[in-house]
Amino acid sequence: MGGKIEALEVLWSALPRLLAGVRVTVELTALFLGVGLVSGFLVAVAQVYGRGPLRWGATVFEQVFRGVPALVLLFLLYFGLTEVGISRLAAAVLALGLRSGAYQSQIFRGALLAVPTGQLLAARALGMTGLQTIRHVVLPQAVRLALPGWSNEYAIVLKDTSYVFAIGLVELMREGTYIVARTFGRYSLEVYLFVALVYLVLVYGGNLALSLLARRLAIPGQEARAESLERM
């Protein structure tokens, strides 16, 4: 292991590359969460309000993508899809995005079910359609109910972007390994400490932002939920 000063110098000179890696990590996180948000929401709606094959199909999807390890999913889609000309980025987005969708679906399902049915009846009794009821009564409440769980999912997805280094996408973790290799492993610990610190800051910052959002959205008289999120 080299000296402390040299380690800082190595990190300093590699900083542009590392920051480029951070950017890719953030972009991947946004992509995975975005794909997960859309697919997870659709799966949750199918599971809660759907019936027959729709509901059944949603549940099969959810079970498969929750039941197979992330790395295995990533390899499956990478080797399966790059064969038919799909880019490795797209394969990664499908694998980890849909995996997050499977998890997010369960967050949303719980949130949808937690909206009291009496309010759905009240909306229907006013003459609102099913869609209006979902849009104006269920969703505004479900979003608030889903935030604590979603905050957790954000942290998991962010950290799990590091898996994609295994299929050769160059993000923070892979940039880290490049520096380690270029310096012949003399600064492995320092480099990975730095990488860990970046993840930690991103997780903390994101969770902080989400808890502020939860506090902003808290319904007066029901603030307890937002506070419990802040303690997470």
């Binding site: 009291p116 009496g118 309010q119 009846l121 009240a122 909306a123 229907r124 009794a125 006013l126 003459g127 609102m128 359609t129 209006q132 104006h136 009564v137 505004p140 409440q141 608030r144 319904i219 007066p220 008289g221 029901q222």
Partner: protein
């Protein structure tokens, strides 16, 4: 022609026949109070009227339109029937004003300003003009129920159905809700009220329906039903209720 006509309504849950052919009429401006032991289908009957629960058999007619017709525009009909729930069922994420305004904006498609004005009027009518910015969790049960009555009134309903509107309230909060209902009855609102409040039934009802076991056992004006019921079971029930509540 009666404003509301309920004909031979049947409803079964699984093997349990909850409603076994219920028929009655409500004239415009009348208040009909439905009484009877718990679990005898009173709430189910109310929900069959606006088809929150789909009846298995029978018809409901509102102002000459068949509510139970498969071709009926049920959302349009529901907008003409107010419904007040035992547990208020206010939208917890909306202020009192927005609770009252939601149906006006989304169902009646009133312009925002007009909807706001109307919602304020109705909140004032139930004595809550100063609570428009409050959320349900910041209101007492009695205030929440009054907001839900305002929500129903704002839609300009032809009829309001009340499903045990005071049963979830602390005793000292019952009065403020009953008072609003009494005023509505005096103003000529047509109402069907399921309740155990015999004082209210006695002073306000034009007609009392006593239900048990999914059928109407007896019905008639309160003077007759309370003083000389024709069916022994009615007398027995009224006695029991008066023992429990201390008044009939």
């Amino acid at each position: 022609m009666a404003l509301l006509e309920v004909k031979d309504i049947h409803k079964r849950y699984g093997t349990e026949q909850v409603l076994k052919g219920v028929s009655f009429q409500v004239e415009r401006g009348q208040t009909v109070v439905v009484i009877g032991p718990s679990g005898t289908g009173k709430s189910t009957l109310l929900r069959c009227i606006n088809r929150l629960t789909e009846p298995d058999r029978g018809q409901v007619w509102l102002d000459g339109v068949e509510v139970t017709s498969p071709r009926a525009d049920i959302n349009r009909i529901r907008a003409q029937i107010g419904f007040v729930f035992q547990d208020f069922n206010l939208f917890t994420h909306l202020t009192a004003l927005d609770n009252v305004r939601l149906g006006l904006v989304r169902v009646k498609r009133l312009p925002r300003e007009q909807a706001t004005r109307r919602a304020r009027e109705e909140l004032a009518r139930v004595g809550l003009a100063d609570k428009e910015k409050a959320y349900p969790a910041q209101l007492s049960g009695g205030q929440q129920q009054r907001v839900s009555i305002a929500r129903a009134l704002a839609m300009d309903p032809k009829l309001i159905l009340f499903d045990e509107p005071t049963s979830a309230l602390d005793p000292e909060l019952i009065g403020e809700v009953l008072q609003v209902m009494v005023e509505l009855a005096r103003e000529g609102m047509t109402m069907v009220v399921v309740t155990h409040e015999m004082g209210f039934a006695r002073s306000v009802a034009d007609e009392i329906i006593f239900m048990e076991g999914g059928v109407i056992v007896e019905h008639g004006p309160p003077e007759r039903l309370f003083t000389s019921p024709q069916v022994p079971r009615t007398a027995e029930f009224l006695n029991k209720i008066s023992e429990l509540y201390g008044e009939t």
